[in-house]
């Protein structure tokens, strides 16, 4: 197990990178539908809810130290039922992976590569994903840490857009949409911020205590929340409320609008940078699903699943390429994510306590 272990700092970056991805680009609009310009409050609500879920997942893992979710379900539900649950977990991660690659290809096709076939764009992501994803956890962790530099650069990019007129008045009146709508809007924000469920799989491989891990994961979540909030507020300041409704990717659009003498399409540069966080999210899910498949069918070896799972993704991509189809698919995936990230872990925790399997004193670490 030792060659797989990662440090606390790497844990932070892995969670951070997995949470940040393609969702950012459209987040301000998808939330805006319900909340007008209060979308940033929804982002904060979403960040807070995710924090609650993180604590919940952590408690579950804490009771089974040194075990991943795939092992815990087998212990709690027995071999047969546990394996079925694991299979569905793998399937869920596979579907998220497909959704990510569909969104990725759709975005690139819309913004840069109009004439390139959809399947080729998916293939580009998948091949890169396989190349990274077939390595062990420590390699992934190092890569994710390195890629964070790119995100820091991207923080500065909206500042260029601030040189065009921004209107503070667009944000007011704060709270105009009402609490109910803000909570509904938070759903869309949560969907954009999932990725923290990576902790279900990697927590046993982190050096240091579980308490330290919780602290770092929470910190990562907080950073992501602030980051998303920052981008949402930027968009709400620049686009008028009626205008933003027709702009599906406002974060890119504000960059397209600015131009300098030395550079004309800043959005292309941002998108090229943003491909990195998008693909790290993809790799995260490839890691999760291939670990599941390895656990179920290959005695823990990920060598084969890293190849055939992406192939399934590719096939899904061949059949689903219309925007409305992707949207529908996204809806199913986002709702099933509640089941797999909240409901099933909660159930597992509950049953494990009832059946007296839960034991936080157990320690292999």
């Amino acid at each position: 197990m030792n060659e797989k272990s990662i440090t606390q700092r790497q844990l932070f970056f892995m969670i951070f990178q997995s949470q940040i991805g393609i969702g950012l680009l459209s987040l301000p609009v998808s939330v805006h539908k319900y909340t007008q310009s209060d979308g940033w409050i929804s982002v904060l609500i979403a960040g807070f809810s995710i924090q609650v879920v993180i604590v919940l997942l952590w408690i579950l893992l804490w009771g089974f130290k040194g075990k991943t979710i795939y092992e815990i379900t087998v212990i709690v539900f027995g071999k047969f039922l546990g394996k079925i649950i694991n299979f569905f977990y793998m399937l869920f991660f596979l579907l998220v992976m497909s959704l990510l690659s569909l969104l990725f290809a759709d975005l690139l096709k819309k913004w840069i590569l109009n004439y390139t076939p959809f399947s080729i764009l998916i293939l580009l992501l998948i091949l890169t994903g396989i190349y990274i994803g077939k390595n062990n956890l420590r390699v992934l962790a190092r890569l994710y840490t390195l890629a964070t530099g790119v995100i820091i650069i991207s923080i500065a990019l909206p500042w260029f857009a601030f040189s065009t007129n921004i209107q503070l008045a667009y944000l007011f009146p704060i709270g105009q949409s009402g609490l109910k709508n803000m909570v509904i809007g938070a759903h869309d924000a949560i969907v954009a911020m999932i990725g923290f469920e990576l902790m279900l799989m990697i927590l046993p491989f982190v050096e240091g205590t579980y308490k330290q891990s919780l602290k770092n994961i929470s910190l990562a979540n907080m950073m992501v929340t602030l980051f998303y909030g920052y981008f949402s507020v930027s968009c709400y300041l620049i686009f008028s409320p009626e205008e933003i409704k027709i702009v599906p990717e406002p974060v890119l659009y504000i960059l397209k609008a600015v131009n300098f003498t030395w550079i004309e399409r800043l959005d292309l540069i941002f998108l090229s940078i943003w491909i990195i966080p998008m693909s790290t999210s993809f790799v995260t899910y490839l890691y999760l699903s291939s670990s599941g498949a390895a656990n179920l069918f290959h005695k823990g070896k990920r060598k084969h699943p890293v190849w055939y799972l992406p192939l399934i993704v590719f096939l899904i991509g061949l059949f689903l390429s219309s925007e409305s189809g992707i949207e529908q698919f996204g809806k199913y995936v986002s709702f099933s994510s509640y089941a797999f990230i909240v409901l099933i872990p909660l159930l597992t925790l509950f049953i494990s306590i009832v059946r007296k399997k839960f034991n936080y004193r157990s320690s292999s670490l």
Binding site: K110, W111, I112, L113, N114, Y115, T116, P117, I120, L123, L124, L127, T164, N165, Q167, A169, Y170, L171, F172, P173, Q176, I238, F239, S240, P241, E242, E243, I246, K256, A257, V258, N259, E264, D267
Partner: protein, 375 residues
């Protein structure tokens, strides 16, 4: 392992079939300026100024550029473009568009349907300048070469210069977009007039209400006053004011000033009956650039001048505000402020009817702070 390498190779080969998305400069015809007018039957007349590069200019070997002008009619903007492509032989490339000229008659209807494609297609240039012209855009662009410079370049230069001179607002296709959709704020665009056969002049600002050109124009110093009232100051701005009407020599009656905006505040008040009033306070610093009377060494004379200039500028401001209200052009975004800070009042009123009736006060304080190198 070998087997896997072979499979990987096949996958990679798939990627080597060539690029789909390449736009070679040699195939593109860069569109630098576009003019749009109303044609018969509500159709659209598109006049495109296209840069053509000829590499075959014999002995010199240096490629030379010329502008050619095409026009076609069609039902939509894209439709007219297809018409131009049929004549053109190259790919119509609007990504370097610099100016988009709208004919007066076209702008008097909702302009969004025309601009839609510019926002929708990622290859379009959103940084292009949007201009309204008296008469038709076709006539203006047909000049082709104005005083030895290509019309698209000349227009762009003139716009940039006027922006620096605080004559027109700094707007691009993208920057008006938030205001196009915002019910609480309107905008204005540069207004150009053709002059003679090969020249044109930027007159001032064309006021818009909602998405339509109102037909009202603010010219010269009035436009500058409006920009100041909205807190938009640029590098240079000049006023020539008649401060000594009693002087015999005509030139002695005037002072020419170079002005700098020091401070601008807009306060919007709403009372219990949802009655809205606004107050704009301006502080302006002035340098006298031309004042033949030469009395600027006396403090009392300066004080008197300050007062007179403030009075005249306030009068100008009142006129500008009156024009705005007649045109129903909420250039200051008072509606947006009401919406943001008095949401209940906003719901109770109909802004389109209310704006022309609200009370907008302007208070301008000017102060002479410099006199050049003589007193």
């Amino acid at each position: 392992m070998r087997k896997w390498k072979a499979i990987y190779g096949v996958f990679v080969l798939w990627l080597l079939t060539g690029c789909w998305d390449q736009h070679l400069l040699k195939d593109n015809s860069l569109v630098l300026g576009i003019g749009l007018d109303v044609a018969e039957g509500e159709k659209l007349l598109n006049t495109a100024v296209i840069r053509v590069i000829r590499s075959d200019s014999a002995a010199v070997g240096k490629p030379s550029a010329t502008n050619v002008i095409y026009s076609t009619t069609g039902n939509t903007f894209r439709d007219t473009r297809a018409g131009i492509e049929k004549q053109l032989g190259g790919e119509y490339a609007p990504n370097k568009l610099r100016v988009l000229v709208l004919g007066e008659d076209l702008a008097k209807k909702d302009i969004y349907p025309i601009l839609d494609i510019l926002y929708r297609d990622p290859r379009n240039s959103l940084a292009a300048k949007l201009v309204i012209t008296r008469g038709t855009a076709k006539d203006l662009l047909k000049i082709n070469k104005s005083k030895e410079v290509f019309i698209s370049q000349k227009l762009l230069d003139a716009i940039n210069r006027s922006e620096k001179h605080t004559l027109i607002p700094i707007e691009t296709i993208q920057s008006i977009c938030p205001d196009l959709f915002d019910p609480g704020k309107d905008f204005a665009l540069p207004y150009v007039m053709k002059k003679g056969t090969d020249s044109f002049e930027i007159l001032g600002m064309a006021l818009f209400h909602d998405k339509k050109f109102t037909g009202k124009i603010l010219e010269g110093e009035d436009a500058t006053t409006l920009l100041y009232l909205n807190g938009e100051d640029s590098d240079v701005s000049r006023f020539t004011l008649k401060v000594n009407p009693e002087e015999a020599r005509h030139q002695n009656q005037f002072i020419s000033t170079s002005t700098f905006l020091k401070d601008q505040t807009l306060k919007v008040k709403v009372d219990k009956q949802n009655k809205i009033s606004a107050e704009i306070t301006l502080k302006i610093n002035i340098t006298a650039v031309e004042y033949p009377l030469d009395q600027l060494s006396k403090k009392s004379a300066i004080k008197k001048l300050n007062k007179e200039i403030s009075k005249q500028l306030t009068k100008k401001a009142e006129f500008v505000i009156q024009e705005l209200q007649q045109a129903n052009c909420d250039y200051f975004g008072i509606g947006r402020k009401v919406m943001a800070y008095h949401p209940n009042s906003w719901k109770a009123i109909d802004w389109v009817d209310t704006f022309p009736t609200i009370d907008i006060k302007a208070k301008i304080e000017a102060e002479i702070t410099g006199t050049g190198i003589i007193k």
